[in-house]
């Protein structure tokens, strides 16, 4: 029997939400790691019962947890996230001075599609790590941080975080706030910025190679050259593997937001959650809406059925949207108000799975057969 498992990382622990393929009745387990921030939790495509979770607090630092039984039990694995090579060098700080790289937390975990023991981790201050032993040990892929533009990377208000990792065999993409998107064609050995076409308010240089506050990037597996980006402002699209970007915000009510999702079976169907502005992190007019484009951007439709019509002032974070792979694609997102919403019909209608979790930081979904 088909089972759907939603992994929700929150400000105060991790939750595992399960349903059958109808996706109308859900059970909730958790909190796992109660009281700790869980920035991200994701399962291995090669072994769905292998889960990884990033667990952190300001008191006790960073831990990585691993489950080998689908989230029923967990064990802490390696948490030694140093910067390779001794002196890590410096990056640009808020006040314009240079500041040494300092590890703070792991924002995103990306398991390999082929090997359950191989997983990548995106850190703050920006660094990319790889483990090939199920998270026991981690090695920094230094080619990213020694990329020539790195001393000019400056954190956004949320920190200099590496929050997006896309694996396409030997080609990889990562995104860093507020540096931009970077591409490797040699499995992470060397990197180059791929931000041509991005324009960011406050950056006088129209052709700035870095300095863009990318919030999230997604790609459909069947179209690796097509990338969709929710930037600080602007929804963007690339059809040449990031070499150039064009804006596809179209008729969105606001093009500020954090997550972006791609339909599992329709590579031109994408989802965003418009947020009022960079200073008002809640939906316009207090109405929570998902907007869907079936044309890869520019033409958007408002999805409202089942979503709050009034007095809703939550945010949806960058890693808090996911899609499942069932025939009728499911779409999920979590809010800072603790709701996790699910749609079993590609976004046409929505219902909350849970309403009162701690603020949701991340949402991932697995389909188990």
């Amino acid at each position: 029997m088909t089972q759907v498992r939603v992994l929700a990382g929150t400000r105060k622990g991790a939750f595992v939400l399960t349903s059958d393929g109808k996706r109308d009745k859900w059970s909730v387990s958790g909190p796992h790691f109660g009281g700790w921030e869980v920035y991200h939790m994701k399962g291995s495509p090669a072994d769905p019962d292998r889960l990884y979770a990033s667990q952190n607090t300001g008191w006790f630092g960073q831990l990585i947890q691993r489950s080998d039984d689908g989230g029923a039990t967990w064990q802490p694995v390696g948490n030694d996230f140093g910067y390779a090579g001794g002196d890590p060098g410096t990056h640009l700080w808020y006040d314009g001075t240079q500041r040494p790289w300092e590890f703070k937390r792991i924002w995103h975990l990306e398991p390999s599609p082929d090997d359950p023991d191989t997983v990548y981790a995106g850190g703050e201050d920006a660094a990319l790590y790889k483990s090939a032993d199920g998270g026991l040990t981690w090695t920094e892929l230094t080619g990213l941080r020694v990329q020539p533009s790195a001393p000019g990377w400056q954190p956004g208000a949320g920190g200099l975080c590496l929050h997006t990792i896309i694996l396409q065999k030997s080609r990889m993409f990562v995104a860093i706030s507020a540096a931009g998107t970077f591409r490797s064609d040699d499995a992470g050995e060397t990197w180059r910025p791929v931000n041509r076409g991005l324009h960011s308010e406050g950056i006088p240089d129209e052709d700035a190679e870095v300095g863009h506050c990318v919030h999230h990037v997604e790609a459909h597996p069947s179209r690796p050259d097509t990338l969709f980006m929710q930037k600080h402002w602007d929804v963007m699209r690339s059809d040449d593997g990031g070499l150039s970007w064009t804006e596809v915000s179209g008729n969105l009510p606001t093009d500020f937001g954090f997550p972006i999702g791609v339909h599992a079976h329709e590579p031109d169907t994408i989802y965003v959650v418009p947020i009022t502005s960079d200073s008002l992190h809640y939906p316009p007019d207090g109405r929570l809406r998902v907007w869907r484009s079936r044309s890869g951007g520019n033409e958007w439709e408002e999805l409202s059925a089942g979503l709050p019509e009034r007095d809703c002032y939550v945010n949806v974070y960058r890693d808090a949207m996911a899609v499942d792979t069932l025939d009728s694609c499911g779409v999920y997102f979590g809010t800072t108000g603790g709701q996790v919403y699910a749609s079993a019909d590609s976004g046409d209608s929505w219902a909350p799975i849970v309403r009162d979790l701690p603020a949701v930081l991340s949402v991932e979904v697995q389909v188990l057969s």
Partner: protein, 117 residues
């Protein structure tokens, strides 16, 4: 006979009582106080923390930073009603404190700093 610089009564193998904060007890899978075994004859912060991490490897990096070895900012150390947090990690603990810990009459406390709001 006590070796030069050694803490009174301390010897490698001596067990001392440690109180961990709730989150670290959960992480280590223990309840209440724990006993950890010293590997050196001088009772210092580092000796106690090394003993904690030796018995509970999953606590590595949670009390002191993995890279710098320094106490994490929101962690404090106490014993015998004294705040030992800012003592140099390799300084012998005060004789009276060390004697009480070694004798088992007082625990070494690892405390998470209070948070407001």
């Amino acid at each position: 006979m006590t070796s030069p610089g050694a803490s009174p009564g301390a010897a490698p193998g001596t067990q001392v009582r440690v109180v961990l904060p709730a989150h670290l007890r959960n992480l280590a899978g223990v309840h209440g106080e724990v006993l950890v075994r010293l590997s050196v004859p001088v009772l210092t912060q580092r000796a106690v923390l090394d003993a904690i991490e030796s018995r509970f490897p999953m606590l590595g990096g949670t009390i002191r930073d993995r890279q710098t070895g320094k106490r994490r900012a929101f962690i404090r150390f106490y014993a015998c009603e004294q705040d030992l947090s800012n003592e140099p990690p390799d300084a012998p603990l005060p004789d009276a404190v060390a004697a009480a810990i070694v004798a088992g009459t007082e625990p070494f406390l690892v405390v998470g700093a209070m948070a407001g709001g």
